[in-house]
Chain length 583, copies 2
Amino acid sequence: MSHQEDLTAYIAAFVAELSKTGVKDVVISPGSRSTPMALVMAEHPDLRTHILVDERSASFFALGIAKATRKPVALLCTSGTAAANYYPAVIEASISRVPLLVLTADRPHELRDVGAPQAIDQLHLYGKNVKWFVEMAPPERTEDMIRYARTVCGRAAATASSYPQGPVHLNFPFREPLIPKLDGNLFELPERAGGYIDIQTGHISLSDEMFKRIAEDLATYKNGIIVCGQIDNSEFAERVIALADSLKFPIIADPLSQLRSGDHDGRHIVDTYDAFLRNEDAKEALKPDVIIRFGAMPVSKALTIFIKENRHARQFVIDSGAGWREPTMSASDMYYCDEALFCEKISSAVGHVKESSYLDKWLALNDTAKQQLMDISGVEELSEGKLFHLLAEMLPEGATLFVGNSMPIRDLDSFFLLNEKNIKVMANRGANGIDGIVSTALGVASVSQPCYLVLGDLTLYHDLNGLLASKLYDIDINILLINNNGGGIFSFLPQANEPKHFEMLFGTPLDLDFSHVVAMYKGKYDLIKDWEHFFETFVENQRVKGLKVMEIRTARDSNMMEHRNLWKSVSREITALLNGEES
Amino acid sequence: MSHQEDLTAYIAAFVAELSKTGVKDVVISPGSRSTPMALVMAEHPDLRTHILVDERSASFFALGIAKATRKPVALLCTSGTAAANYYPAVIEASISRVPLLVLTADRPHELRDVGAPQAIDQLHLYGKNVKWFVEMAPPERTEDMIRYARTVCGRAAATASSYPQGPVHLNFPFREPLIPKLDGNLFELPERAGGYIDIQTGHISLSDEMFKRIAEDLATYKNGIIVCGQIDNSEFAERVIALADSLKFPIIADPLSQLRSGDHDGRHIVDTYDAFLRNEDAKEALKPDVIIRFGAMPVSKALTIFIKENRHARQFVIDSGAGWREPTMSASDMYYCDEALFCEKISSAVGHVKESSYLDKWLALNDTAKQQLMDISGVEELSEGKLFHLLAEMLPEGATLFVGNSMPIRDLDSFFLLNEKNIKVMANRGANGIDGIVSTALGVASVSQPCYLVLGDLTLYHDLNGLLASKLYDIDINILLINNNGGGIFSFLPQANEPKHFEMLFGTPLDLDFSHVVAMYKGKYDLIKDWEHFFETFVENQRVKGLKVMEIRTARDSNMMEHRNLWKSVSREITALLNGEES
């Protein structure tokens, strides 16, 4: 049985190395061609295997684990369109810089492109959306081929993990028979038992002269702002706050910057800019002469417009991933450097600015806007905005809040404001899809508790299959479903002014009673009647395990009006404040 | 508003031309970037628009319509991972040769690869899996650009429709504002009002000398078989039967060859080969010296092995799509020629063979196997095999039977035997995925009634979202769910002998009560208790509109035993028959 021994030794070496590189989780979708890898992975004592039938949900689940842990997660599927179902999650991982190891089983060479069953062209299946693609050599157990399997494995994990993190795709041709021999010391590595090759990537840094020059440049500007978009660097928050304190610049903090929650010093943090940057007087009063930007582009369209309208300003974009997160065509300086290091070096070089009336203006406008936005807390009917306002108060310490795209991320931006809790806020903001949100959140929940997911009805529908993971693996998750029966965001877009075809093409009401599907997945479902019912159920559910869905029904029209009215009242007060200052 | 006029005129010309090329159905998934195209399509009086939120289900739904009509169906989605969700269906369309026009909206050039929201690299998104990819020019209304939009549209439809049919991808960069002007004579074409360019593709044919030579060659062989896999050519059945009658060759008819049902002459059709070609005596007795093969490779593994074991035989493969449907590495002659034409030319050239003892042997073995397989009709408990046997009797005239991959297609092969009804049998046998089956069947059902879908529980789960189409568009469908709580096919594969990890990796029981989800989609659900209940419900459901699900619960182990026992009894009788003949 030389074939079986070749197959077993080669795959066992790969899987043993996978574990040595630090991979803990593998998400497997059942299939025939992937049998040898699946069986060997299941046999490994240190790998946690998750078996999910729908590959699309499986891949987003893996994405969720990898987002939460920042470590590569392996995905395994059989040959054919199974692998194509990973495509959305692979693209999201690529753009949002999440490490994934995509392992696809394939037919051997002689069964490709000849009409054999379940055979598709898997070479470069994900195009330029992976950092590295390898067509693996057919299994052999010569010393060199064992070294090859281990080396590729280590290299793949290192490539996925190094900045910018992202997906890697390895395609394995397997010939029948597909059954490995699961006995003996399967994972004993005769050579270099501790791991084949230790791969370390350094952090990207500018030279000290360059830091000095940047600090000197910055000292020539008076009116500066720091803009922080989505970023995932545990040291960043403290360092950027120190930088802001040195420069006396406000920090415009996107909800995904992880700066709106935590016990750090929040004095310079501006969190209501999306509301007040809609006001022309505010924009006039706040014209910056320098912008320092970290992380992805923020969610707020008002902020994006503000940046575009201030192209005269010097704009530094700092990116440890050496990418091009600059859709505004306004940056003047692009620095590829670790963000936390940049903050540290610059703040120690610039010294300490004493005061800034420009900063004070930002903070005053922020306070005024916040007072108006707080009006939402008095709303008696169920409201999308108020929900996010309440969450900042109600979420337990240490919680993760995962939000869907479209409206929830925007309401998060508007209403989830500065607080001192330790709350991690997450979303799929690489490609901003409504696909795979349930699965991504469940992947997060499988490694980080407690976990709350807020999403709309179309997003829930899109990944209903994701709920299965909660049932199969007893994962606790609190889902807050905002059901406005359709695509709420379109009410805010220009097509809302064209009533013809609107409901058919954009409103798209599905009229689904989700309690049925929650019952199928053995979850607890509550249709929230009013805020009191919401408070009670929220507290009650903290003691309930598994899947819990609280459905909050809202109306798209009144939601849109509520937002418009709030923005108007913010704008009115901002104008009053600014005119008062001027007089 | 020159921008709006450019946008409107360009898109309206494209959409008007789309309708002129004969496209009737467009499947749209809601989104913002695709707004101009969606609104203009909705405005067209002759296009039928279907709005489906999950792009994966939407694309398989479009595939189903195109499979049933053999005409291109247009798909439209917004930018981002929405388009990536089409990937599985695009690959299936490519391999199974189904015409699709995939239209994706994209960000304009200046918003690509710069971290703008919902922007991914959509150029060549589906790689080599489309017949043609075009990055469309930005909208303009010069005469030339209107001609360009119309020409590309006509060319795309012709490319998708010409043999081998397949998917085409057009990517449209749209700049904001995205609202077209929906007034005036939107679809009035000032130039060539009847369609811009008439594109005709001829049928592929060999020369008369070549047909003559093939006929002469064939006359030198005595023991020939005709193998027909999945094929979709309305003239083929009659012609291949005439060819078989001329040559006195048996026709080995795959269930997707459309030869097992119909009022055509069935005397030469062999339908139980999957059972008797497992017997070594039968294979010895039936060694062919020539094989003529049409269509895709048949489903039966026993037949594939038989072909491989007879590599000494001359083997002609006829393919109007000029592909390479030949995984057995045994063909000796590959002819790219319209299949119906080939049959016609060859049968008129070969004259008429009087009789063939070789043919008689195939037919005798077929009769013997059929008698044994008929034993399944006496099975009292609910059985997967018996269900397919019954369907041949019970399906109404004119029905379409769509079957899932994995076990249903194999049981169809074994038990859905020759009948005189007009029944169309369909499956997704390009890449044989378990993804998108519900949606494909619903696409078929939207244009062809009555429609029956037989599938397993994992396949239903994979595309539960597909059920929404039935609710939204009042599509009648009869779903026969064979619920054996997991992956039934794996019980037939070698891993079934390795009990360790088997249930976890391959059995994968989901323990789902599907009645809940059927209720959510407002369908009628029946859990079938016994055969009598099945008969009653089957008849009753013919008078019920909408979604109807009959769930038949079976056990994977006893199903496998039932199949094994039947094959054993077929084998025993075949051996007895052949020994009797010899004595």
